[in-house]
Every structure is written in C-alpha cells, then in structure tokens.
C-alpha cells in the first residue's frame, strides 16, 4: 500500500504502510476492500481501494485512530485550483457524481464541504478552534 502523503499540519498514525483490508459503511450495509493508497482531500482523507472505489475516512468501521481533518485555511491556492480543474475535466468527460464510491463523487463531495466551510468561516470569522 502506498503511504499517506506527508502534511506538515497533521500527522495521522494510521494506517500502517502494510497492505490493509478495511470494512466500511456502504449503501447495502457494510463492505470490505483492500487499500491501495490513502490520499489527502480538501477536508478529510480518502482511502483508494484496489478496485478503484474511494472511501472517505469517516466511513471506515472498526477501532482505529479518529479521522484527521484539515482546516480550509491550510489549503493553498494552487491545491484548490488544481482540485477545481480536475472536477471540471471530470464533468466535461461525462462522469456522473451520482456514481457512489467513484472518484468524481468523492472529489465533488469534498469540494462542496470545503467550499461551505471556507465561506461560512470567512463570513462569521469564528475563533480558530483546536482541530485535535
């Protein structure tokens, strides 16, 4: 399994770099899959399975470290714009975000969550909370 990309702001201890089978909530109840890669999103981490499905960390069942989330202000302009370009090209390619557990569904979900937090925070200017 490819390890999680390093981030200076957060240091999750799991998963280990060994191949790992995860159980997660799915529409039909629970499902399992082999993790190929763990990738940071704009808000949370996504677990990419060997069959191509994309599972957000908070849907994973079992005893493990609680999910690590990123603050909107930790996302750089370059990262945001790259994400936006990727979404537009997936839409232009005719992908459907309603296909669950597929990359477009996962990336659009994170982008909308991030956009909501980004602009809600900018309007209300709450104190910077602890994220741990």
């Amino acid at each position: 399994m490819r390890p999680t990309e390093k981030r200076p702001d957060v240091h999750p201890k799991w998963p280990s770099e060994e191949a790992q089978i995860i159980t997660f909530t799915s529409r039909g109840g629970s499902a399992t899959g082999v993790v190929k890669e763990v990738r940071w999103g704009l808000v949370w981490r996504d677990f990419i399975l060997e069959d191509g499905r994309v599972i957000p960390e908070h849907k994973i069942l079992g005893e493990h470290e609680s999910p690590v989330w990123r603050k909107p202000q930790d996302i750089s302009q370059d990262e945001r714009e790259a994400w936006e370009r990727r979404l537009v090209s997936m839409a232009d390619a005719g992908l459907d975000p309603r296909d669950e557990e597929q990359p477009f569904h996962a990336e659009l979900n994170q982008y909308l969550a991030y956009t909501y937090l980004r602009f809600k925070e900018a309007r209300h200017k709450p104190p910077d909370p602890k994220w741990t």
Binding site: W69, V88, L108, A113, T115, Y116, W131
Partner: protein, 105 residues
Amino acid sequence: MKIRVIPSEVREEAERYIMSKTYQSGQSGKQQVWSLLSEAGLVDIPTDEFSERVKEAKKAVMDRLGELLESTTDIEERDSAAYSLATLKKLETALQRKGTPRTAD
C-alpha cells in the same frame, strides 16, 4: 429616520451568539466542523442531491463575493472566490446536461 449606533456590548453579545451557533462551545474543532457539515448535509451527499448542494455552495460564494466587492482590500480573496464561482457554474451546467436527477438505487 434616525440611525442609532449599536453599543459595543450589545454588538459583542450578538457576535458571541453568532459564533456559538457556528462553533458550539465545549466541542473540539473537529466535532464542530462535523456538526456544521452534518447539518448542511455535506458529510455524505445523497446521490440525488448534488445539484441542490452545488446551488447552495454557489449562493454561499456569491454572498461572500458581494461582501468582498464592497471592500477595496481582499482583492486576492475576491479573485479566488470568483474563480470558485466559475467552477461551480461549470459543474452545475455539467450536472444539468446529465438530465433529471437519478433516483437513488
């Protein structure tokens, strides 16, 4: 009409109330964000609600853009909000091209 200045203590109390609605006290940052996103239906968007969520996100960006246009500072944030709004419009158009919302299986 006579315009009255809001006393600072009243304004501060109002701001505290708004903040308590945004980040409830006694919760960690993660829990607060989780609550915010859950209430907005953005933790796990149902398959047939993407178009609606894109519309809501567009509204949030437009509201902020309206504020930024009144300000002569924050030009960078204004440009980035405009870029995000353009992205959301393209996504909305692409979703509309996909036709009527598909019923969740």
